[in-house]
């Protein structure tokens, strides 16, 4: 993990002491070999396309990112000012590794890249995100996606 001693206060305490939801069940689905799976990314960075409205504070929505969106169109509208954005500025893959996923598909390490990827506001309470999860799940099934890679910031 990010070493707690290297995270400046007050972010360190916020990260360490945050109230986390407790999930009553722990699902665990088996699946095909990785080389046959279609993979989608879910980013918590509240990504928006240039010109699109930023995520409102506390938003529990999920937004769709078409796989064809150019990296230059993606901006980060996350409410927090306490995590690094310079890495993402230099290379979008640092937080949203779509090009890396494409490269893995080209190599045959994964089966394919989903047509749609997803982003949420990571600071929002997941308890309010059931509708967003239903919406994302519906799209994943429509595209026959077999695996989701979550990349929280």
């Amino acid at each position: 993990m990010a070493r707690p001693e290297e995270i400046p206060e007050p972010t360190r305490s916020a990260v360490l002491n945050i109230e986390c939801p407790v999930f009553e069940t722990t699902p665990f689905l088996a699946g095909k070999p990785l080389s046959q799976r279609k993979v989608a990314i879910v980013s918590s960075a509240a990504l928006v396309q240039r010109g699109e409205a930023p995520f409102p504070f506390g938003s529990t929505e999920a937004r769709f990112i078409p796989a064809g969106v150019p990296a230059n169109a993606l901006l980060m509208s996350h409410v927090s000012i306490n995590f690094d954005r310079h890495g993402f500025a230099r290379d979008a893959n640092t937080a949203f590794p779509l090009e890396r996923l494409r490269a893995l598909a080209a190599e045959g390490m994964i089966g394919s890249v989903a047509e749609t990827h997803y982003t949420v506001m990571g600071s929002s309470d997941p308890a309010g995100m059931a509708a967003a999860a239903d919406q994302v799940s519906g799209q994943l099934k429509q595209e026959n996606v077999d695996a989701v890679l979550l990349t929280p910031v």
Partner: protein, 235 residues
């Protein structure tokens, strides 16, 4: 939440304690700084190894819960010897709004070539949330110092318009700082911005102005979302 709905998931986790509490089906703990789940920018081989480690958890049957540690560190977390900031340290420390306007406008003009070089080099920019071109930033920001509450059509309130402009200012300087040579660490960029630029000092002044405002939204947003606490001036 997604696996419960039928799709297998794996997560690259920066906060181990949070993953230990939420117990996702599969998580790879990475020793990288917040904001960089893939670790090092522009190192495709490094990022590929992280991806394969996280995706590889999907092929294991010994869950739930699988919580695995990733050992390799991000070399770009450490400061880079030889990195030079794109501008010399600012000498101006204005107080009147008109002086802030001219000092900030001059600094933006001086920074422009490095910013444009960065966009050429990386093929991208994350500046754009504010919905205003840099030419308008000095007037818009210093209006707040004079007690004004300007806004733009893209944002619902002056507080949000200024908040996202602060994000754009930080982004532009962060990009310009990486225009040439080896990649600076995030800490080097932040130290330069907050301690050596007019823009960094301006954001601190905007925070002070916002916290003294009668506009409650501006007071809250300015107090929390303009300047990270580690970079607030010592009281």
């Amino acid at each position: 939440m997604l696996e419960e709905r039928g799709t297998p998931t794996t997560v690259i986790a920066l906060a181990r304690n949070q993953a230990e509490k939420t117990r996702p089906p599969r998580a790879l703990f990475v020793p990288f700084q917040l904001g960089r789940p893939l670790g090092t920018p522009e190192d495709a081989a490094f990022q590929r190894r992280v991806m394969l480690a996280a995706l590889g958890l999907l092929e294991r049957a010994d869950g739930p819960v699988i919580l695995d540690d990733y050992a390799e560190e991000d070399p770009n977390w450490q400061d880079t010897a030889g990195w030079q900031p794109p501008l010399p340290p600012a000498s101006a420390r204005p107080t009147a709004p008109a002086d802030w306007w001219s000092a900030f406008a001059a600094e933006l003009a001086a920074l422009r070539p490095a910013w444009e070089a960065a966009q050429m080099r990386f093929g991208r920019s994350i500046v754009g949330l504010a919905g205003q071109p840099p030419e308008r930033w000095p007037e818009f920001t210093t209006a707040f110092l004079a007690g004004g509450l300007p806004t733009v059509p893209q944002h619902a309130t002056p507080a949000l318009a200024l908040r996202f402009l602060c994000d754009d200012i930080k982004a532009m300087y962060g990009e310009a700082a990486q225009a040439h040579g080896p990649a600076p660490s995030s800490r080097q960029v932040e130290a330069w911005f907050w301690r050596q630029t007019v823009a960094g000092a301006l954001l601190v002044a905007l925070r002070t102005a916002a916290m003294g405002s009668d506009n409650n939204a501006l007071k809250t947003v300015g107090g929390r979302f303009f300047v990270p606490v580690p970079w607030l001036p010592a009281a």
